[in-house]
């Protein structure tokens, strides 16, 4: 066996593998960024100046921020303790619950919206009774929030579940032996130790809610100022004034990018190795 030749061959193989890997990474990057480049290339400052102050755009922007904010806060308030109990307790059907939590990630949003309509619509499973007592959910701003919660909550829940599962139970158990109630332990030990991860999960949830389209138009409809969020405004504008669509799209991309950057920075500044 020629050791030298063998070594050479191995070196060549290693280099070839590296080259291929680099090419693949490049392909992935280009594929994901080029569409956005195409979008941004269509924009001129004049275009933004003309259309961003537009009343429809402004209304859509504030409605989007408001509904996504409410959706995110709701997901945090209910999802945090729920995810904690879920990851700290063994109960029958736990795997099933895990699957249900992930379901909205793979479900087409239009199906999500349609299902919400069939549940909460005024002829729906629950909506029929809500309608009798005078509550109509569909086509309201509340419906926008509900659609956003449905599609975006997995981003927070998955993150929270993972964080709580990874957290060494010794911290909370020590706190308990020291006389701390379970509530106090949750507030003063568990939350601070998982905070940066929870925040990045919440930001992802907010970003997903901000981009939500399919479930919203199905369940909440499209009414400027009431249910027309930015993605809906983009779609509606595409039917008429393409420049408006481009202007809002760029705004949405800018907000999303800022959010993702914030997540990166937050996760990098993670203080505790727990």
């Amino acid at each position: 066996m020629n050791v030298m030749a063998d070594e050479k061959r191995q070196k060549f193989r290693a280099r070839a593998a590296k080259g291929i890997a680099a090419t693949l990474v490049l392909i992935v990057c280009l594929y994901l960024t080029l569409p956005l480049v195409a979008l941004v290339l269509r924009v001129t400052p004049e275009l933004l100046m003309t259309y961003l102050p537009n009343e429809t755009v402004q209304k859509a922007l504030w409605l989007s921020l408001l509904t996504s904010g409410i959706a995110t806060v709701t997901v945090i308030a209910i999802g945090t303790p729920a995810a904690y109990f879920h990851s700290r307790t063994a109960y029958p059907g736990k795997t099933l619950v895990d699957t249900f939590i992930d379901l909205p990630l793979v479900l087409p949003p239009a199906v999500a919206g349609f299902s919400l309509l069939l549940l909460f619509g005024r002829t729906g499973l629950l909506g029929t009774y809500l309608h009798i007592i005078g509550i109509d959910v569909a086509f309201t701003t509340l419906a926008v929030v509900m659609a956003q919660i449905f599609v975006s909550s997995p981003f927070y829940l998955r993150q929270a579940k993972a964080l709580f599962e990874q957290l060494d139970p010794a911290y909370e158990e020590t706190a308990r032996t020291l006389g701390s109630s379970s509530f106090r332990t949750f507030i003063s030990i568990i939350l601070p130790l998982t905070a940066s991860g929870l925040i990045s999960g919440a930001i992802m949830t907010f970003a997903r809610a901000l981009g939500e389209f399919g479930a919203t138009i199905m369940f909440a409809g499209n009414l400027p100022g009431v249910t027309q969020t930015m993605p809906l405004a983009i779609y509606a504008a595409m039917q008429g004034n393409f420049d408006v669509a481009i202007a809002i799209s760029v705004l949405l991309v800018a907000i999303s990018l800022a959010i993702m950057l914030a997540v990166r920075l937050l996760t990098r500044n993670r203080k505790y190795d727990v």
């Binding site: 063998d6 061959r9 191995q10 193989r13 290693a14 070839a16 593998a17 291929i20 890997a21 090419t23 693949l24 392909i27 569409p35 195409a38 309509l117 069939l118 619509g121 005024r122 002829t123 569909a138 086509f139 138009i217 909440a220 409809g221 499209n222 009414l223 400027p224 249910t227 779609y235 509606a236 504008a237 595409m238 039917q239 008429g240 004034n241 393409f242």
Partner: protein, 285 residues
């Protein structure tokens, strides 16, 4: 050791080949347009296959038109790209390839003709359609006249001001508002009751069919295409109605202009017109 790394490299090569092939195929389909803009996904027609960019309001009738043409012309396949006319127009302008364009708005057809996207001599008027008001089965809003549409608390769906059905709906509402058929302040009342402006005509039909709104402005063809008993109708007199004219033409980028023209001929034939009539479209003589 070297055996496993060799295997890894093989796997990488295979992955690379698959990706390259995928990109090559994507590249081939994308370079027909003169603009170097992003190409929207459509399959190019080859042999007897044609892609018909079709106004969404023809969704119902397309299910009959396609098979009828295929039966009459063995070896052909018709694929419909059903979307709002404005979306279709944008896709064509951005380089999407297809063979036939059926438009619900003549102005958009004229734009495309001016831009060289259509073979101008092939463009014909296809059919027409009236606006009607549809109600869910059982009429939950208890709407018995056009006046009832303005009653506070009614929920109405209509198209956006940009899509053809929405444009015609507004024309009809204006015509009615100036007539003696409705009370004063009717138009404002109707618009106050709108809970959603849908971006396609089928979107309006869906919300009415589900009973989530009390009424919707759609084309007569959608009422005819719906299952019997699933919708109720409030007609709008012809003299106040806006007739939606549909136009059809062969796309300049078509790779199968022969079959495309055949399809248009079929649509304009008595057989094609009969199918359209069954779905509530009104022939243009």
């Amino acid at each position: 050791m070297s055996d496993s790394s060799a295997r890894k490299i093989t796997v990488l090569f295979v992955l690379c080949a698959v990706l390259t092939a995928a990109l090559a195929i994507a590249g081939c389909t994308g370079t027909t347009g003169s603009d170097n803009v992003t190409t929207l996904a459509t399959t190019p027609a080859t042999g007897g296959d044609i892609v018909v960019f079709t106004a969404a309001s023809l969704t119902g009738v397309s299910a009959d038109l396609g098979p009828a043409f295929e039966d009459a012309n063995p070896g052909t396949t018709v694929t419909f790209n059903l979307q709002g006319t404005q979306s279709l127009k944008k896709q064509i302008e951005l380089g999407a390839t297809g063979d036939v364009f059926i438009s619900a708005k003549t102005a958009y057809t004229n734009d495309l003709m001016a831009g060289g996207y259509l073979v101008n001599e092939t463009v014909k008027k296809l059919t027409s359609n009236y606006i009607v008001v549809i109600l869910p089965a059982g009429n939950p809003g208890n709407i018995t006249s056009l006046d009832d549409l303005a009653r506070p608390g009614m929920k109405i769906a209509m198209g956006t001001a940009e899509v053809p059905v929405g444009i015609n709906t507004r024309t009809v509402i204006d015509n009615l508002a100036n007539s003696t058929l409705v009370s004063s302040g009717w138009k404002e009342g109707v618009f106050d009751n709108v809970v959603t402006y849908e971006t396609t005509e089928p979107g309006v039909v869906t919300k009415v069919s589900l009973g989530e709104v009390d009424a919707g402005f759609v084309y007569e063809s959608s009422y005819k295409a719906a299952a019997a008993g699933s919708l109720e109708l409030v007609p709008i007199p012809e003299e106040y109605n806006a007739l939606q004219i549909y136009t059809v033409g062969v796309l300049s980028d078509s790779t199968n202009k022969e079959t495309a023209q055949k399809f248009i001929d079929f649509l304009l034939s008595s057989e094609g017109q009969e199918i359209l009539k069954n779905y509530g479209f009104t022939s243009i003589s």
